[in-house]
């Protein structure tokens, strides 16, 4: 039983406070409704997965939460603060951080430079121009931790554009974690990673700090059922159902609407 192995984070859904919440979220593009009345709550320390078929509106929902898109209706709160109209970078400063399905990296910089830059920015040194990047001991220490956590130490001085795809995928996540998120939105972290480099990535996802609340968007059901303690199913922009992995796996609606093939869910 896969879902019994991962409640190591020890947070029950009912007792932990809610850190990120959407209420009646609606997004319309012209006549098309991409997000329909979505109510979603992410608990502190959650391992929450958002699944749904292609075109279900998962990425739109992330874009609404992170401020890339503005909702047509509804409200988003982060730790009790209304962030519905807040600028994207301010949400990041408040601890709402995402990764991207398609790598969004800094091609000409090395992983070390990239992380040193992000950590400096996170520690409020991003506006400093009179001292060199890396002059601050605390920044370098944090970079060292992140590089080893994400297994990037060996390649830290290579330009990002020449890194192997799996390493770039790791850097994608390392950048997000360098922002010291309270809530981390992972948009298909293992998408497109070849089998040989996959293991490394799964390890690091599993090793994310327990106090960071994670919402995972993923097509890979192995990863979802390994990782999540709570799953929300999104279909046509609306929440179809939400529950524990066991409930979702046994939900006939989910089987028919989303997965189609019931055997995919009985693998574990």
């Amino acid at each position: 039983m896969v879902w019994q192995t991962k409640s190591t984070t020890g947070f029950g859904m009912s007792s932990a406070p809610i850190v990120l919440k959407t209420e009646g979220l609606v997004k319309k593009f012209g006549g098309i409704t991409a997000t329909q009345d979505v109510n979603l709550s992410i608990a502190q320390g959650a391992r929450h997965a958002l699944i749904g078929p292609n075109g279900a509106g998962k990425t739109t929902l992330i874009n609404l939460m992170t401020g890339v898109l503005e909702p047509t209706e509804g409200r988003i709160t982060l730790e009790g603060v209304d962030i519905t109209r807040m600028a994207p970078e301010q949400r990041v400063q408040r601890g709402l951080v995402r990764t991207f399905q398609i790598n969004q990296l800094f091609a000409s910089m090395t992983p070390l430079e990239t992380l040193a830059m992000v950590v400096s920015q996170q520690q409020g040194l991003g506006g400093r121009w009179w001292q060199p990047l890396g002059a601050n001991r605390k920044v370098v220490e944090r970079c060292e931790q992140l590089l080893s956590l994400f297994r990037l130490t060996e390649v830290m001085n290579q330009r990002t554009e020449v890194l192997a795809y799996g390493k770039r995928r790791l850097l994608e996540m390392a950048i997000a974690l360098a922002c010291e998120p309270r809530v981390l939105l992972l948009d298909e972290p293992v998408a497109g990673v070849p089998a040989g480099e996959r293991e490394e990535l799964l390890h690091t996802v599993a090793a994310l700090p327990a106090n960071v609340s994670v919402m995972l968007i993923e097509h890979d059901m192995d990863l979802v059922f390994d990782f999540a303690t709570r799953i929300t199913v999104l279909v046509n922009g609306a929440v179809l159902t939400e529950g524990t992995p066991q409930e979702i796996a046994n939900d006939p609606q989910v089987k028919s609407v989303y997965l189609g093939h019931s055997e995919e869910l009985t693998h574990g």
Binding site: E89, Q93, L105, M109, T114
Partner: protein, 326 residues
């Protein structure tokens, strides 16, 4: 930990050849006094190219109207010398301040839109200022230029001479000072965030960087540096004319960066040296048709690539890209 800090700090450390290069530059007006004027000109355009590199190479903002700030600095410094006081350093600071303020105002126009929009907006700004300087002839002298600018001695001691030695040393000193500051800037955390938003603005925003504010800041600072270059030109030539705003000037400085290399502070300096010397040598041979040769040089440079051009040995092997894929 130590190794990491070292590789982070490495780019900000001075190389052994750098003091040598500057010594050479400062010795030039003394060794070849007959060429002091061209040394002065090179120092000025090198500073101007450095300014463009700050926005183009280190923040990814393209501009075809950078002469707006150069010209504004030039006119501000010239007017200050004529109407207020002739002290060069004060005038330089006033010219820089003027261009900085203008840069802050203009930065609002470059925050939106793509590269093409920015090219047009910056070009438009320079044209507006050119026409203003033309029209306000009671202040600027119009198309005759602003004449009768008499400068006092630098630091109250070094008079500008006809040979241009003082001018050259003055411009070189300002170039060196601003170069050192720019060096700090590009290797700092702030410089790194600017590189990040040049590489990927979407991600820069997603790590909490206020992209618009950072762009406005770097544009404003670069405008100030361009203003300093303009002020130096007005002060050392005792003259400001409409051509300081001309499109040629914005285009030339872009060419210098292309020649020397973008995103490398010495690129602007190197480009300025090569461009000015080519100009000087070729126009000595064929005064009317020198742009033909500059054009040919540029086409060859861009088609062949700077690295290959500077390494003649590579001319006889296969191009690198083909070798790699083979």
């Amino acid at each position: 930990m130590k190794a990491m800090q070292d590789s982070l700090l490495a780019p900000s450390r001075f190389q052994a050849w750098e003091p040598l290069l500057w010594l050479l530059a400062f010795a030039a007006p003394w060794v070849v006094p007959g060429h002091a004027l061209i040394v002065n000109e090179i120092a000025i355009v090198a500073l101007f190219a450095l300014s463009l590199d700050l926005i183009l190479g280190y923040a990814g903002v393209v501009s075809l109207g950078h002469a707006a700030f150069f010209g504004f600095g030039a006119y501000t410094a010239a007017l200050f010398a004529k109407l207020v006081m002739p002290d060069p350093l004060t005038g330089l600071l006033v010219g820089m301040a003027g261009a900085t303020v203008l840069g802050a105002v203009c930065s609002l126009t470059i925050l939106r839109g793509s590269d093409l929009t920015r090219l047009m907006v910056t070009l438009g700004m320079a044209l507006i200022l050119l026409e203003l300087a033309n029209k306000l002839d009671w202040l600027t002298g119009g198309s005759d230029g602003l004449q009768g600018v008499v400068m006092g001695p630098v630091l109250g001691r070094f008079e500008f001479d006809l040979m241009g030695q003082t001018a050259a040393w003055y411009s070189l000193s300002v170039l060196l000072g601003l170069f050192v500051l720019a060096r700090r800037w590009v290797h700092s955390p702030l410089g790194a965030t600017l590189k990040a938003l040049r590489d990927n603005p979407l991600r820069a925003m997603a790590i909490g960087i206020n992209v618009q504010l950072r762009l406005a800041v770097v544009y404003t600072v670069a405008a100030g540096v361009a203003g300093a270059a303009g002020a130096l030109l007005a002060q050392t030539s005792g003259f400001a004319s409409l051509d300081v705003f001309a499109l040629d000037r914005s285009a030339d400085v872009m060419l210098m960066l292309v020649i020397g290399g973008v995103g490398w502070l010495y690129g602007g300096v190197l480009g300025a040296v090569v461009f000015k010397l080519l100009h000087d040598v070729i126009s000595g041979i064929t005064p009317q048709y020198w742009t033909f040769w500059i054009g040919l040089f540029l086409v060859v440079l861009v088609l062949v690539g700077r690295d290959r051009l500077l390494k003649p040995r590579s001319w006889f092997g296969k191009p690198k890209a083909q070798r790699d894929s083979a």
